[in-house]
Point group: D2
Amino acid sequence: MKLTKEQIKDIKEQQSQRNLTKRVTAPELEKVLYEAIPALDHGFIRVIDYMGDDSSIVQSARVSYGKGTKKVSTDSGLIKYLMRHWHSTPFEMCEIKYHVKLPIFIARQWIRHRTANVNEYSARYSILDKEFYLPDPQNLAAQSIANRQGRGDVLEGKQAIEVLQLLKNDAERTYDNYETMLNQRFDGSTIDENKKGLARELARMNLTLNTYTQWYWKTDLLNLMNFLRLRADHHAQFEIRIYADIMLDTLKRWVPITYDAFMDYRVGGTEVSAKGKIIIQKIIER
Amino acid sequence: MKLTKEQIKDIKEQQSQRNLTKRVTAPELEKVLYEAIPALDHGFIRVIDYMGDDSSIVQSARVSYGKGTKKVSTDSGLIKYLMRHWHSTPFEMCEIKYHVKLPIFIARQWIRHRTANVNEYSARYSILDKEFYLPDPQNLAAQSIANRQGRGDVLEGKQAIEVLQLLKNDAERTYDNYETMLNQRFDGSTIDENKKGLARELARMNLTLNTYTQWYWKTDLLNLMNFLRLRADHHAQFEIRIYADIMLDTLKRWVPITYDAFMDYRVGGTEVSAKGKIIIQKIIER
Amino acid sequence: MKLTKEQIKDIKEQQSQRNLTKRVTAPELEKVLYEAIPALDHGFIRVIDYMGDDSSIVQSARVSYGKGTKKVSTDSGLIKYLMRHWHSTPFEMCEIKYHVKLPIFIARQWIRHRTANVNEYSARYSILDKEFYLPDPQNLAAQSIANRQGRGDVLEGKQAIEVLQLLKNDAERTYDNYETMLNQRFDGSTIDENKKGLARELARMNLTLNTYTQWYWKTDLLNLMNFLRLRADHHAQFEIRIYADIMLDTLKRWVPITYDAFMDYRVGGTEVSAKGKIIIQKIIER
Amino acid sequence: MKLTKEQIKDIKEQQSQRNLTKRVTAPELEKVLYEAIPALDHGFIRVIDYMGDDSSIVQSARVSYGKGTKKVSTDSGLIKYLMRHWHSTPFEMCEIKYHVKLPIFIARQWIRHRTANVNEYSARYSILDKEFYLPDPQNLAAQSIANRQGRGDVLEGKQAIEVLQLLKNDAERTYDNYETMLNQRFDGSTIDENKKGLARELARMNLTLNTYTQWYWKTDLLNLMNFLRLRADHHAQFEIRIYADIMLDTLKRWVPITYDAFMDYRVGGTEVSAKGKIIIQKIIER
């Protein structure tokens, strides 16, 4: 991940803010606010804003006039209870907003989570950054035989080198031709003063799916957990899991009690079918 | 509106918070944070939390690394542009949460706005407050003849007095019988130690629709404006408009630039059909 | 449940339709289409329309050009797989629409399921039917001691009679006064030609929460199952479970393969937390 | 657009269905059901299923026991009224499902409409078709100078030929390398028996954004109109407008009365701000 001087300055400026507020705050999350946490080779995640903390869940579950309760132990008990019994609406009372830079093929997976607000960088309006995802060699997995949508062993030796070379060459060439068609370079400079450029909304179609895009993505705590449950799972594609793992850490900083309950009841938990229940009961009764 | 000593203390405690944050703040909104703003005879609206301000809209519309821009004039121009052209997603990047006390028949209108998060006081779990809405005499309107779902002239004299008496008597009697069935008074005390009480989830069915309920209600700025556009309109039922008008004021305190654009393009604006356009054009060309 | 002659005629007319279509049909569901299936004392559920069947789930999961597959066994295997692994989107490809008559306090629970389309009978526009829910004596449960939002033993003898009398009297009296305020009877006739009536949008506030309302309610198969999972559960309030049980039967008629998978993996299944998993594993390994 | 023999057979089979139903049908829409209507060079739209017709809107707006009304004139008046006054929920009572084949960069615009159900062809699971969008020379527009996200004049002569050549070469080369990395050709045959192939979920990142994908897309009538209002507009990108125009035609076949109201009040209509209203009034009063 490489930021321009101006981007670094913008981020520093945001981080230097010291505002007084009567709202609840999440001190551990404040520590990393606005920071560009690297993800994959050129991507990042930044927490831009948030609303509420663990006490907000308790407060709304009780529809109370003040804070949740005064005792952490009581709050914690209620949050665990809500999580265990799938009470969903109190968790919707907290909100978080991220700024994410990610490859387009991952953005296409991500956007399938519909209960979120999104503003994506517009390639109709601006030129996309000259950055594309190239996997680390140790992540260059072969197609799994057992699982039609999973990965198997890592490719090795010559084949791995070839694959990386193909990915790199194709991304660079298509990006160069993107610039040629636009008659403009990624830094905004014109290539040939005597020529028009192809409309940006058309030229972008020449880019490969590993090109990076970016967006602001905002969601409530419940839907964030729904996202993480699927995307931080070992069945998820490795590339989106990298982002989900970073977000899990921000979850922990933001709402530590909820995080614990989530790890116990959702991420680490499992389901048993009606038929499965009968089998387990028989085993236990032996 | 009457608050208990404990409720007043809870609110004061929240208002005395002074937290440092790196997040953007809305100073005018902070001034009224947590305050119970009276609505109708026993209701209120309290702003509990918020996320973002005018600059957040600009920031996400530009997918920028820092704040929106540095100049208020530029931000204002962009926000007007977004509003005029119905760009919706940047307005979803701000969020607000209210605590509202309101009569049940108004709550039933309100809840039809689905893109919001809600936690309502549970009458399965607790006893409802002994409070019900009685209109002011000047709001005791007759059925409109012209508009099947509107109001006409105000009822006068003896009929007005009778109506108010009926509303009051029926609400009080049904509430008394609610307590009798529960075998419990609204303050939690038991009526007859030798009796069981009817389940709360059943007893509540005896209450009238002007009984007050309360909820936490959270929505994004776009959907708040959709709500206000319908409910602060003169076609809206008077009782919900009272709430919408208070919320319009909180909107102004929160995002003043957006508020201005909203009043110009949505609330004060109008629509012209394809046929209407032709007529106006002919008149203008005369 | 009592229908007017005109209502019965309307329903018969709908049921006598014989239209040719190239769409898939669900023959077992067609048999009960439009029928008013009684629920509680005055309520009903009618299936008004539907879209898709089991094969539609398979078809969209495969993004196929034709039907799902040709073999029922293959379809069934895929549907079970999708259900077991919480693949949600293919189940969104079927849609169903109900016409429901139900007490207002149940409608208020029901509407909390937001991912649905609703048109409710408007009490601003029309007079509500003179019908209110009175529980059967065997459903007149006392408040549970163990569960703050549940039911305990059934009330008996004199107390049960008293409760029913209170519910009946209060509902009748408030409805009578509703008519008095409207200056109009439920059949539309005017009471006193020399008087105005109170606006309907106001008069309705005098009704008790067991008054019946009705609505058209449409949702997709996934969200129907989310609804049924919560509302056909034994923790759900008895009165909404009555509706959910009828809807479970329509689910079986509509998409029998999905119904079986739903009963096995959702309704009959259970969840085990991370800590619970460790305990079960220890027991099994003994 | 080219379909395989099997695909043509599948479609024919669907079209030959003659099922009896008591549901309402839309005869004009039935005529084109399942048909692959060509869009762009390799794309198509197929109507797969639908629910309801114009009468369903009236029926739910009235919460009636039978059909909407018996008279077309009454239905038409009500639908116009609902459209003019932005009553939205009755239009949600109809549903339609499309099978769409479209270039990925257009799919990315399309998916921003969140209130819809989607199942997309999975490139983690299967190999994508060897088809990519190449614009017709008359659609090869230069970037607009006036509008940062629009098109200007058409590119001409040598430059147009060059652009098309670049697009074609890059798409073909990246697709060839996609096959090489997969060690599998688009028809499923293996390239080199002694080699493993790269995981599909990785190899796809090498494809360009004009590669075709396909999905099942289902939405209600209200959200379909929201989509068409934006995407059949002359500000929309040409490539998505092609799809929107075809869908407008299916709208007309499906719900002709609603279509007329939509064209008058939404597509052909305009908005006037509060300030604009004052100006028009002054002109008219001259």
